[in-house]
Subunit: 200 residues, 2 copies
Amino acid sequence: MSPRNSVLEASLTRQRIVDRGLMLASVDGLEGLTIGRLATELGMSKAGVLGHFGTKEGLQLAVVDAAAELFAREVPQHARGVPPGLTHLHTLCEAWVSYLEREVLPGGCFFTAAAAEFDGRSGPVRDAIAGMDALWRRDLGIHIRRAITAGDLPADTDPDQLVYELVGIVLALNHSLQLHHDKQAPARARRAMQRLLRNR
Amino acid sequence: MSPRNSVLEASLTRQRIVDRGLMLASVDGLEGLTIGRLATELGMSKAGVLGHFGTKEGLQLAVVDAAAELFAREVPQHARGVPPGLTHLHTLCEAWVSYLEREVLPGGCFFTAAAAEFDGRSGPVRDAIAGMDALWRRDLGIHIRRAITAGDLPADTDPDQLVYELVGIVLALNHSLQLHHDKQAPARARRAMQRLLRNR
DNA sequence: CCTACCGATCGGTAGG
DNA sequence: CCTACCGATCGGTAGG
């Protein structure tokens, strides 16, 4: 390894750091993610890791971004091409449950863990987490409204209430999987969603 | 202050430490709760704090116990004397929502935060958290089954499914309150619960 | 319950 | 991207 890498090599190294950081943070939290441990696991020096982000907060923000990209790849992208309305909403929810069921990240849903960790603080990391969560809720709301317009859901459906309840079902799924290793949880999540999306 | 306190004084000091520790941990997590900070806030030395628990893990276990006692005082105890069946279940759920709505702990639901923090680890602290959660779910299940037996809920109700969905509603409540300061969340939680407990 | 320590690790910097 | 540091703080101990 040459001490001075090309721009391409540097960006690949950065990607490696962020990917590993995301996995570590999903288990130990964004604060439990330490530069020293990350460096050791990657066979790098601490300064080498930190150089890509400036500060630990910079690293945390990069990990939040990576988590958002992973989620976008795993959930909304799976519904690409599916016609709007209830079918689209259903595809979205199934991809969401499947994403947690397959335990793509070792610590489960990154944003659930990060929200619990940072909701009592202030600053850019907390804001980034809250912003991503708000974006996803907005997305869900849009698809719910389309399903209402299409006549797939009752006209008196409260979109924000439905978003709230769907989020609850998935939070319970993540909780049951991570804390109790309850293998029945995905089936329970699907059953609860079916009831919400079918006959209200 | 005499350097050697009586047994009573020592137990009162211990209570002060645990109470403050619970408040700090609800915001910063059980790992973010440091002995040094706790000592400073209480005007004590680190050794004085640690002496009551031996290790940090001992302190964490004491805080988990205190959280369970607080929850028991705030939720199940509020339903004491209420006849079994749907009325009891309803009282329990209302006390549960109210507990979070009033923000009794500054960081919201201690067990939600602690579960998210420790679910990826192993050891006595994780086990204590999971055990308390399992106890509360079992309690809920018992009251649901009583309501079914009393004919207050449909005979084909799946008790564990209902527990799952109630837990989800409360997890969503805690999430909305702590991350988004959404003041409509308690109303949404009550609406979702009403629908689950009334006409299924 | 205190003072006075201990080694380990934290985030971060200087300089190359 | 490295080595070699820095001060601060961590959990914990010795001894009173």
